[in-house]
């Protein structure tokens, strides 16, 4: 089946063949994959999807992969959980958590985008993949490159924390630590992407890479029984995920897989210390003012997001809104989700839970509406955020009487 028309400029509409290019040569606008929906409409049905594997590849027809899937066969199809304890706590009727903190193999939704990008890299005959990253993306590219037996170059700022370096190095990539300011590292990596014949997943492969995020949206709809929720709250960094979840819903609708009218409102969640997209939404302006990030939510710390404008448009078009979360609220959000649902998410998840809470408390989201909260990364990746907030409650000698005393003590404190 010929399913791709090629690439198309999101700004001027010029068409390009499906090759590893990402910027329109005429207007420097971003390129996007263009599908033949007429063809797809005759092939893709609820039944054809349901017959697929329990992974994001059940939606392969709607992803830009044309040959066999090369890596990440088990990515996605993560749990969508009816979070009644959290709903009770928030005073709401219907809350769902889409839990990519357990996405295989590297514990964040980035596996969705990277498996597509690395598969495309193989399709286009590349033997090397690359990215510039400070966290989740680095983990995922290194892991998938290892699986696909591709060489990988991961660029990081030289002052990155040891834990993050280790969680990438273990997959045996070539890790390049770059000394310089953030801006210098950024520009250098853009030049490297331009010069070397490598698949830079979020630069020259960005049109393919970003499509992988649609699977997160497809799964929400299918797992809800081919229904769309009233609200989806999405953590935003570059602004791609929220845009692609919305695109996923629109594609399902256009293909007739969703029969009821779509009334979903898309809401953006960002940290107060790095929230340029939410600022646009709250100020009701399509002008993105770049910021210098200062937040514990490092996985969302993109000060000049490439898809900021499109994220804003998504929120506006759907009738949603946005909320900022302070560092304190982020930690509270992480603890709330863990305490109520037994899910340990990273700071990005804390941002989303905190933003959801605010949107509910301020009446933007009605308590009777159905709400999906997007949890996109694992808490074990960002333990630093919690170290000084948590400690063992009881420390005792190994004797029953010591325990009895400690327990009595705890109970008296609790009352």
């Amino acid at each position: 089946m010929e399913k791709l028309n090629g690439l198309r400029c999101r700004e001027c509409g010029r068409r390009y063949p499906a090759t590893p290019v990402h910027v329109c040569e005429f207007c420097f606008g971003p390129l996007e994959v263009d599908y033949r929906y007429d063809t797809l409409k005759t092939v893709v049905t609820r039944a054809s999807i349901a017959a697929g594997p329990p992974s994001m590849w059940r939606y392969k027809d709607l992803l830009p992969v044309e040959g066999d899937v090369a890596v990440g066969h088990h990515v996605g199809f993560t749990p969508l959980i009816r979070a009644q304890n959290l709903a009770d706590e928030l005073g709401c009727r219907e809350v769902w958590v889409k839990n990519d903190s357990v996405c295989h193999p590297s514990w964040s939704f980035k596996d969705r985008v990277v498996s597509v990008a690395v598969t495309k890299a193989r399709e286009f005959g590349y033997d090397t993949v690359a990215c510039a990253s400070t966290g989740n993306l680095a983990n995922s590219v290194a892991a998938h490159a290892a699986e696909g037996r591709l060489k990988s170059y991961i660029f990081i700022p030289a002052d990155l924390e040891q834990g993050k370096v280790l969680a990438t190095l273990v997959y045996n990539p070539t890790l390049v630590a770059v000394h310089g300011t953030y801006d210098e590292v950024n520009r250098l990596c853009s030049e490297i992407a331009d010069k070397y014949r490598w698949a830079f997943v979020n630069v020259n492969f960005r049109p393919y890479y970003s499509e992988g995020s649609k699977s997160y949206g497809f799964e929400i709809v299918e797992q809800l029984g081919w229904r769309t929720p009233g609200h989806i709250i999405v953590p935003c960094a570059g602004g791609s995920l929220i845009t692609k979840i919305w695109k996923a819903i629109k594609e399902f609708k256009a293909l007739g897989l969703i029969t009821e009218p779509v009334t979903t409102k898309m809401h953006a969640a960002q940290a107060a210390g790095c929230g340029p997209i939410v600022t646009m939404i709250r100020n009701d302006t399509d002008v993105l003012v770049p910021v210098r990030p200062n937040t514990i939510a490092k996985s969302l710390a993109i000060g000049n997001p490439a898809d900021g404008y499109y994220a804003y448009r998504t929120v506006k078009e759907s009738g949603g809104f946005g909320a900022h979360a302070t560092d304190e609220e982020i930690v509270e959000g992480m603890l709330l989700l863990a305490r109520t649902e037994g899910i340990f998410t990273e700071t990005a998840g804390g941002v989303t839970v905190a933003a959801a809470k605010k949107l509910i408390e301020t009446g933007v989201i009605q308590r009777t509406d159905s709400i999906v909260i997007c949890i996109t990364g694992n808490g074990l990746k960002t333990p630093d955020a919690l170290y000084d907030r948590l400690e063992a409650h009881v420390k005792i000698k190994p004797s029953l009487s010591a325990f009895d005393r400690a327990l009595a003590d705890l109970k008296s404190h609790a009352t």
């Binding site: 993306l137 950024n186 979020n202 000049n304």
Partner: protein, 80 residues
């Protein structure tokens, strides 16, 4: 001649200044504007700059010194 594709973001106080004109005149750069959005209090321009290596470096340094944000056309390439 080396070329770079950049996105310039202007803070409000620079909107009225002839930045692009100075870039061409003082640094001997050839510029090719592809897309721009300049409002009363904020603006950006996506453009290609062409000149010898030294001139490009000096031009970019001057822009930053003025308070213009200079990013690769892809913007933030480092992803968390």
């Amino acid at each position: 001649m080396p070329r770079i594709r950049v996105r310039l973001t202007f803070p409000p106080e620079l909107i009225q200044e002839p930045i692009v004109y100075r870039l061409v005149k003082d640094f001997d750069l050839v510029i090719n504007i592809r897309r721009a959005d300049v409002k009363a209090d904020y603006g950006w321009i996506a453009l290609e700059l062409e000149g010898d290596e030294g001139a490009l470096e000096r031009g970019v340094r001057w822009l930053k010194g003025k308070g213009v944000q200079v990013d690769p056309i892809e913007r933030d390439v480092i992803v968390p």
